[in-house]
Amino acid sequence: MTGPLGQIALLAAKDLRVEARSRQTLGLVTVTGILVIVVLGLGLGTQGQSPGVGATAILWVAYLFSGVLCFEKTMAMERHDGALAGLLAAPIDRGVIFASKLLTNLALMLVMSVVITLVAVVLFRFDLSAAPGGFAAVTLLSMIGFATVGTLFAAVTSSSRLQGGLLAVLVFPICLPLVITSTQLLTGMFRDGLALDSPGVGILASFDAVYLVVSWLAFERVLEP
């Protein structure tokens, strides 16, 4: 029997293969993000405005809404035809299921965020040249935390009987520290020209660590056939 890492890879590969066949999630999620950016940008009239003011807000709102949609869909994949029961009946730790879903969500989110950021850069002339590495690092750390919380709550709320919008309402307040911290970090880097701030990075990393551990542990209790 393969070890947990192999199992995680196997499950994530299966998820991505299903996604590639059904082509449901990635397109929908990316388009949603783009739509959000366009609406916000038009509403705020940000053409030509310097980055670090409004840019992080636009990007974050786009990430939040499309991210939640993404998490819902990857979990819903297991609800068809009782597929989740098949996984639960297999000789794997529940935490493995969590890790694989998280990896799948991260992979999809990363693609989506690259596309959305490019669109925002082009449409609103956001200038990331001051600190592209810093921007990538902050976004990546934030995405990990967001995807972790999102995967956990998507698993708990995944059911055909529940109303839509529930996942967003639960995930957004929990993720606000990510929004605050990444906004402060990006503003610091782009507007004030500061280097990557270690307390801020520490907070992002702590957020990720705390919720990774909690989700791994909670998955044992939270998944129901």
Partner: protein, 260 residues
């Protein structure tokens, strides 16, 4: 978990092993399933109460009862999908708690839902589950199984394109990929056409002859009695009847299902 009860049969006591189950234990252990005082309470509702069930290796059990009697729940508990709130459950001689993951590799589950990914092909599904269970040479085994259930010609078709009967056959192949010693079937005949139902009956009979342990819930009492050597009836979460199938008539069983 409660301790040993005085009323436990000697065979069960003799099979109490403290070491984690090894692959050859099945040959030495008499009981595949040993449930003692198993209860399941959810939201303060008692779904299963004081379930005593002992199934030896190679035994076949029909699990019957009205809707809501607890059959599906009991099968899920035996498949380790649900955790009992009280009582003791041993599978293959090992306590379910600490060794649950390892024990699952010897259990196969069929339900009225196929548990397959509809966008993947039948073969891809089987190979995935094979790899998940650590089956060596999953592709060859999958192809052989599909031959066995008469589905080799649809192996590369997406599951969503299959009829209900064929989907169920694919589900059965999935359940058998890892050659489980214990097969749990939750109303597997639900919604099957006559041809697929006959094929499933034949398959279950073959498995029975091959010494597999089988616990099957069903609505057709006559069919259940014919396919198994023991019948257990649940009513409102309790075992009300546990007798060899050949001693029972469909009417007698029906009476127990419905109650006084």
């Amino acid at each position: 978990m409660t301790g040993l009860k005085e009323t436990e049969p000697v065979t069960a006591a003799a099979t109490r092993l403290e070491a984690p189950p090894a692959m050859d234990v099945a040959r030495r252990v008499a009981s595949v399933v040993a449930a003692a005082g198993v209860c399941l309470t959810l939201d303060d509702r008692h779904i299963l109460q004081d379930i005593e069930l002992e199934v030896p290796a190679g035994g076949t059990v029909a699990l019957l009862g009205a809707n809501g009697a607890g059959k599906s729940t009991l099968l899920k508990v035996l498949a380790t999908l649900l955790r009992p709130s009280a009582g003791r459950l041993r599978l293959f001689g090992g306590d379910v708690g600490p060794h649950a993951a390892k024990l699952r590799s010897r259990i196969g589950l069929i339900s009225h839902q196929p548990m397959l990914y509809r966008d993947l092909s039948v073969l891809e599904n089987l190979v995935f589950f094979g790899r998940l269970y650590g089956v060596p040479g999953p592709r060859e085994r999958a192809e052989a199984l599909l031959e066995h259930v008469g589905m080799a010609h649809r192996a590369d078709d997406a599951v969503k394109t299959l009829s209900r009967g064929l989907t169920q056959r694919a589900a059965i192949a999935r359940a058998l990929m890892h050659d489980p010693d214990l097969l749990l079937a939750d109303e597997p005949f639900d919604g099957l056409d006559a041809g697929s139902a006959a094929a499933l009956e034949a398959l279950l009979t073959r498995l029975r002859a091959g010494g597999k342990t089988l616990i099957l819930s069903n609505h057709d009492i006559r069919q259940a009695l014919a396919l198994t050597d023991r019948t257990v009836v649940l009513r409102r979460g309790r075992v009300v009847l546990d007798r060899p199938s050949r001693e029972l008539t469909p009417d007698a069983v029906l009476k127990e299902i419905v109650g006084p």
